[in-house]
């Protein structure tokens, strides 16, 4: 699969998922029960992958510093802009110092 095909498929899948909402009865209890946990699980997995790994290797580097700063900022409900700037600055600084 080329990147172009993957992007096209992502676009198609995204639209189909949205349009399928026109058909869903959104008060389905099974959907409710699983969707929150599924979303959280997927996000948690992406956090791990984007912070602590490089392909198939587990790593620990300056990104972890950015993550901790972002987590603190997010828990304090700071605006996303601020969270991003703080995390990026923290990582850049950590990299500079190591």
């Amino acid at each position: 699969m080329t990147t172009a095909v993957a992007i096209a498929l992502l676009a198609l899948i995204s639209y189909l998922l949205r349009a399928s909402g026109l058909l869903i009865n959104e008060d389905n209890p099974i959907v409710d029960r699983y969707s929150g946990a599924l979303t959280a699980g997927i996000l948690a997995s992406l956090i791990v992958s984007s912070t602590f790994s490089n392909a198939t290797e587990l790593t620990l580097d300056a990104r972890a510093v950015g993550l901790i700063v972002a987590a603190i900022a997010a828990m304090r409900r700071l605006p996303l802009v601020v969270t991003l700037i703080l995390a990026v600055a923290a990582t850049a600084t950590a990299r500079l110092l190591t």
Partner: protein, 218 residues
Amino acid sequence: MRNGLAIAGVAAAIGSYGFAFGVLAASAGLGWVAVLTMSTLAYSGGAQAAFVSTLVTGTPATALLSGALVNLRLGIYGAISARVLATQSLPLRLIGVHFASDETIALTVGAELEDKHSTYWRSGLTFFVVWVSSTMLGTLAGNAIGDPETLGLDAAFPAVFVALLIPTLTTTTIRVAALSAAAATFAVTPHVAAGLPILAAVVAALATVTISTRSSYT
């Protein structure tokens, strides 16, 4: 205009995140055409972030998998937008549903009943334009920046994922699901191809809910 300030504030956040995304997309080797296509047709920040961050170390197929999984909640957003747009014609609903994003839905759900319709369209279109243009600008800038890692820009993805995650951790089951998904990801990463650990995370999250539902019946 109601919500005008809220829409503007959120738009600024979307713009800055879109810009950071564009820079990282450029460093992942994506050109502005790819980013423009993704931003206008897929139009999903979380999924686009998942796609690009997986693409860096994985394959287009696993990137697609990550992006699609992140987008599962769009079905629910589509249902919400369907309710809000119920009075409009089918073609308009089919178009309108495309603008359902985390932020648009959040603002629409939080709006007063009589404002929901206008909030949806105004925020939906505004955020769409802001997202597409900021990701494009970021991509063009990214080609000029050189090494995003020196600027710590690779922390942008984890930061956004964490900012998206924290508000969802409302119940114990969900928190445990997130933890087990993270643990599964750690455990599986050294043993499978890049981009695939997310499947283990999905299994872990689903298992957590199934187990907790069962045990609440005993």
